[in-house]
Symmetry: C2
Subunit: 224 residues, 2 copies
């Protein structure tokens, strides 16, 4: 397997090189870049729809949306209007890499964009290894997935800066324990900023919007 | 990237060689082998708990349980008792491979075992590429994940022989449309056997148990 490991290392170091270029490009434009990661169906696209609905007009948003197949997520946001969207179909690959994101960004007019969302492939494992030039990873977890997920997929929670707990409207219908998932996640990464939301009902989303605004302001001031 | 592709091909062909050995070994013992695949938190372990609870005594079951980190799933089943269990911690790898399963099987006494479950890592992408010597893959999808998942992760649904739709007790609390997920899945793989269940309430599980019994009977008769 050492041949495999050495090729993987080479691929990752090439990825890091391109990610650094993306970071420099976005940094020069003072664009906040968030890499959204989660299991399939946790609600990344719903979170983006809510965010667009709430902040459109105040904040200029762009999205690079990755999926193994279909451009459906991208199309949901394009239909909503107001967000610059570029889909990436990975064609089987289990994660986005920096080269895919770089190509997609070359096809977006980033003038005056405040925040770039990168919606990764729904996968709690592989995307954790790939730097996409983002300022931070945001992991979305839904209350129907089980409160043990941080323990089972620690790398993703370690490398994320924020955790959005989605589908809190379904609490009580499963054994999911919010305080347990927080303990599990904070035990791995004590610096995690945590949001408890329902993209279905809208509950808890104001804190998320406020945080986004703060990130943008800090970026404009060149504090991050 | 051609170096990466050629190494991947080599890894997969070595995997197939070991998978064929597993298949021969299990075939000689007339053991039904099911490779359970799903997103994180779809309910693979809950399905196994229910199955163990219902069929223990009638059917002798063994389990190889994979996780990126922790042996928690394996421990849940070990605590329940009655099932031979061997955990595999992949230590970061996003899928089980045949070599991991082969090593785990060498540590299980398979005498008189009727059915072997292989609980894969929660990931709808990577495990689809790895033959583990199973008779068939069974994909578990929960109603909280969205009915678009077959379209977004077609390879997994194409390579599975059965689809278990779990958490039907939560239908109506999301936009999940059972007929749509069936259409989406059957459009990719018309031969899929479909079960609609709730591992929480027990609804629909009798069909699943009956199917398992039929598989075992056919295997003993050497019909599969």
């Amino acid at each position: 397997m050492s041949e495999k490991v050495s090729v993987e290392k080479k691929v990752l170091s090439e990825n890091d090189r391109i990610a650094a270029q993306i970071r420099e490009k976005l940094g020069a434009k003072r664009i906040v870049a968030l890499n959204l990661v989660s299991s399939p169906g946790s609600g990344k696209t719903s979170l983006l729809e809510r965010t667009l609905d709430a902040l459109n007009g105040d904040i200029k948003m762009a999205l690079v949306a990755g999926d193994v197949q279909t451009e459906n997520d991208a199309k949901r946001l394009i239909r909503a209007g107001g967000m610059l969207v570029r889909p990436i179909v990975t064609g089987g690959a289990c994660h986005l890499d920096a080269s895919m994101v770089s190509n997609a960004l070359n096809q977006l007019d980033l003038t005056d964009v405040d925040v770039l969302f990168i919606e990764n492939v729904g996968n709690l494992v592989c995307p954790s290894s790939y730097d996409l030039g983002e300022d931070m990873k945001v992991v979305v977890i839904s209350t129907t997935e089980g409160d043990d997920k941080p323990l089972k997929y620690p790398s993703m929670f370690r490398r994320s800066s924020a955790m959005v707990i989605n589908k809190v409207d379904l609490l009580g219908l499963s054994d999911f324990d919010v305080s347990k998932v927080k303990d599990n996640a904070l035990g791995i990464n004590g610096g995690l900023r945590i949001f408890e939301v329902s993209c279905r009902t809208g509950a808890g989303l104001n804190d998320w919007y406020t945080w986004l605004r703060e990130l943008i302001i800090r970026k404009k001031r060149n504090e991050t």
